[in-house]
Symmetry: C2
Subunit: 334 residues, 2 copies
Amino acid sequence: MVPLYVSLKDVAERAGVSFQTASKVLNGNSGVVSAQTRERILEAARHLGYVPNALARGLVRRDSLTVGILADDFSDASLSRFVVAAQRTIESQGHAALVATTTQGSDGPLRRLQEYRVNGVLVIAPSVEEDESVGEYLRGPIPAVTLNHIPGGGVPAVGSDHRRTGVLAAEHLLELGHRAIATVTGPTARRVVVSRTSGFRETLHAADVELPDRRVCATDWDARSAAAVTHELLDADPHVTAIFAHNDTMAFGVLAALRARGVPVPQRCSVVGCDDLPLADFAAPPLTTVRVPFEETGARAAELLLARIRGEDTPPRDLLPVQLVVRSSTAPPP
Amino acid sequence: MVPLYVSLKDVAERAGVSFQTASKVLNGNSGVVSAQTRERILEAARHLGYVPNALARGLVRRDSLTVGILADDFSDASLSRFVVAAQRTIESQGHAALVATTTQGSDGPLRRLQEYRVNGVLVIAPSVEEDESVGEYLRGPIPAVTLNHIPGGGVPAVGSDHRRTGVLAAEHLLELGHRAIATVTGPTARRVVVSRTSGFRETLHAADVELPDRRVCATDWDARSAAAVTHELLDADPHVTAIFAHNDTMAFGVLAALRARGVPVPQRCSVVGCDDLPLADFAAPPLTTVRVPFEETGARAAELLLARIRGEDTPPRDLLPVQLVVRSSTAPPP
DNA sequence: CTGCCGAAGGCGAACGTTCGCCTAACCGGT
DNA sequence: ACCGGTTAGGCGAACGTTCGCCTTCGGCAG
């Protein structure tokens, strides 16, 4: 088998210098060689198609120039947006992104990342909230930044302002005059659900509107189960005039359930979503929602991580603002 | 700074053996040492928290155990599903996944992957179709598999059967009795668009239904522009009774446009999508669509790539079957 | 002529592994 | 006591870099 790659030695030989000199030149360490040899070396490298070996470089520099992304199954429409934005930022700062996916309660993926000597780890994985062992790992010596709540805390976090998300949704519905309000949430064990719900509930409470538990329907983030709980909710409590879904995907489920029941939106029931998916504007009717800044969040998290890697001080939390996007799925109650 | 990681030497010292012996033991090369020393070494490794250095290992083995994924912006709901499935497969076969994102007509990302000495490259990037230089690269000595058409060909490809996608959509509409049929496609330069359109057109043609160019609306894969071209289409040609959209996202746009015009779906106009997004079942009305096997495709592509890396023979093409999913957005014409 | 200096580039060492071969010690058989 | 064969483990080399120090040489001032 012919060698796939040429090494510095090959380049140096062709240029008639020592490989260390070639190294210097190819690392832009100019001034130390004459313009002539310099040119000869560059020519040789070009001609042979020299591609430096990041493994060897990483070994001696003790720096892999790599960061790990610990992700859940990010085929979820929104998780992938975090991942992409983070990846781009990482790449733009000269690092490579090594992606590992979480596997139920094992630190295999993190270990794997450690083997590759990643300079830091970015966590984009809601499921870590259930994983005790991961917290210890992440509080360890290798820099980490997370988008999710980490058991035990102590890991710098970036995210959007979940509490405020709940507040904005509540304020909007209150302003429209709603008083019989329900919410369809993700699993209640999730921090984001707790924060959004408490912001939502407290805002309603301040306006003397109560949010009893029977109007808080926890489900599983997806449209199908959201539709199912919406039916249950309305069977038990037909007077509800507004529903806040904790993400747009569930809001689609809510809308579908309402449609199936012949409840016109927004005339008899308003719906507010969360995320502002690209499709939100194409729901029937177009969905009023609280926009989550996915790209900004992913990018910000990566920036923070890279800053930590460089040894800079970083804030322990960074909450990006969210924003209400009013479309046609909300209106005053009948 | 205290060293972040302990090396084989540290482990060996603690166990009182040479580091090479420790290496043997930790690589499961048992039988060559006594059970005692073996246990001592394992204990030392555990106690010190030894994590092998994949960079050093890769260097001497001349095998990084890494594969590169060259991706476009996969925040696109469907691309990310390919990526995730591929990533999982790669990981499950003991490789790490290095993700690089394409940047307009530069081979920077590929070069980057080469620096890390990836064992192979998986291309999940529709935009490569526009990039001549990438083809040469991918036909080179490093194994590659692609989900997209590569300029110049010669790179093993995995994908779903695009032609058949068009055929299935056409057959379904013909069976329902439609004859005034249009289609909303992605950019016509894309292979997938060409294949789907030709399968669609030929099937119609065989039933004596023509698909004139004015009923083929090329646009940009997204719901907004799909809605816009739908309006144009119906302004010019109000008699259309069925529309085939090349993906579900655009189908949402088509549905929204129809709704805005007061055209009831499916009573006055049927709509067929493509992809079978999780939300397709929650469109209004639930979308009839051709399912694309995203996960299977991503996984299959990764398997193929890994097989090539192992030096096995692999087929130059692998087309996964697609399947029509009938819901409520299609019905006989008025 | 001596001494010094700067420019140009060579050179050894180290990074953390794996691999193959070498050696020392011990065993039993003659 | 000598031999041959195991068994347990040591050891040198190599992978492709970077880094810092060293050498060589020519030139120029004193």
